[in-house]
């Protein structure tokens, strides 16, 4: 059985003071605390590419969890900001920088905030198909490169980060079949416009607040589990307001919906694995829901179970 064995991350040390930035937009402190939730937004060094951030995350997996780089057989990178526009693919660049052996399957996944949930299943599927034992799923984005710093809608939200998740035959968290959905008709709610990120905040909020609780409930129903029997809910950390709007749909267990973006902001596909790294492996957690949603508009939800 291929399952999650360990997760590591890399968060750039430089960051934007979000309260200071908010002043320039005449946004109140209470809005930053209560609705955005991020007090600092990490920013990658301008010389660092997506592969460099992912390199640091994989290196941390090696140092902190004993991943032997020569034993990696598959390497996937979820990114929307690949080095050199994606040619060659970011995972191949990362493969080269890590100095991995030739027998490694490498591919990119061009998804945003739903990318981690997709990535787990895609990588596991490949590993089963090719009979592989060790795979690494990276997420890496520097949205700081595509943010228009005069745009209040996006400037206060996004931070840069990368993560690396080790999938192996002797992991500790299994995952179920995901529920995956796309609302392409609303794709312009979050897209690049003249090289910069443009967001229709209301549409994205509406999508998350309506679609995600419904998707979680569909998954719980399919798995025949009560929402109260899930220990923790790991939502994509779009903003404090979005996580709270989703949590409100689950009265009685709202506190199980984790919110932790004070030091990171919305890190796109990295936000779920950053939370998992911090909270999943505690002894009290046996079941968890992960749900990613955003660009596309795409949403993906899955169930994790301790083995």
């Amino acid at each position: 059985m291929i399952s999650i064995r360990a997760i590591s991350s890399f968060i750039p040390s430089s960051s934007i003071d979000n309260l200071e930035q908010a002043l320039t937009f005449e946004v109140t402190e209470s809005f930053v605390f209560g609705k955005i939730g991020a007090l600092r937004l990490p920013v990658a060094d301008e010389r660092d590419l997506a592969s460099d951030l992912a390199y640091q995350a994989v290196h941390a997996l090696h140092v902190n969890h004993g991943l032997v780089l020569d034993e990696i057989e598959a390497l996937a990178v979820v990114t929307q900001n690949p080095d050199l526009g994606g040619l060659p693919h970011c995972s191949a660049v990362l493969h080269g920088k890590l100095g991995l052996q030739a027998g490694v399957a490498c591919f990119d996944i061009g998804l945003g905030c739903s990318g981690y949930v997709y990535g787990l299943s895609i990588l596991r599927g490949l590993m089963i198909e090719a009979n592989l034992s060790n795979g690494v799923l990276c997420t890496s984005d520097q949205y700081s490169r595509i943010i228009d710093r005069s745009d209040r809608n996006t400037s206060l939200l996004f931070g840069d980060a990368a993560t690396a998740t080790w999938l192996s035959r002797d992991g500790c968290f299994d995952f179920s079949s995901p529920i995956l959905e796309t609302l392409g008709s609303e794709r312009e709610a979050l897209c690049l416009s003249e090289g910069k990120l443009a967001m229709n905040g209301r549409k994205v909020f509406d999508f998350a607040a309506i679609k995600v609780p419904a998707q979680i409930n569909s998954l719980l129903e399919r798995e025949e589990i009560d929402s109260c029997d899930i220990d923790l809910y790991f939502m994509h950390q779009g903003s404090a307001a979005i996580v709270n709007a989703i949590a409100r749909r689950f009265p009685g267990i709202k506190e199980r919906f984790l919110l932790d973006i004070e030091r990171t902001g919305n890190t796109v596909s990295s936000s779920i694995p950053l939370l998992l790294e911090k909270y999943l492996f505690s002894i009290a957690t046996n079941t968890a829901i992960i749900s990613g949603f955003g660009v596309g508009l795409s949403s993906a939800t899955n169930l994790l179970r301790r083995i």
Binding site: K35, G201, D206
Partner: protein
């Protein structure tokens, strides 16, 4: 027929935590201390509760409780 009470109930469900008085009905949301996300949340709750879709182009005109009441009443009547 939509009642004021029903719309107030929806407002409360949207996460709003302030006490609403009758004088507030014609005040702008900004004057009431509601920010853009409070208003988004109110719209989302209306859509879920009443099964209507609030169009983007209609939003700039709905900056008070009274205007939302009028808009929603027309849509569901």
């Amino acid at each position: 027929m939509l009642s004021h009470e029903k719309l107030l109930e929806i407002l409360a469900k949207s996460g709003a935590s302030y006490k609403f008085s009758n004088d507030d009905a014609t005040k702008s949301f900004k004057e009431m201390g509601m920010d853009s996300l409070d208003v988004y949340s109110f719209f989302t709750e209306i859509e879920l509760e009443l099964g209507i879709k609030i169009q983007d182009q209609d939003i700039p005109h709905m900056d008070s409780f009274a205007k939302i009441y009028e808009y929603v009443s027309n849509r569901i009547s």
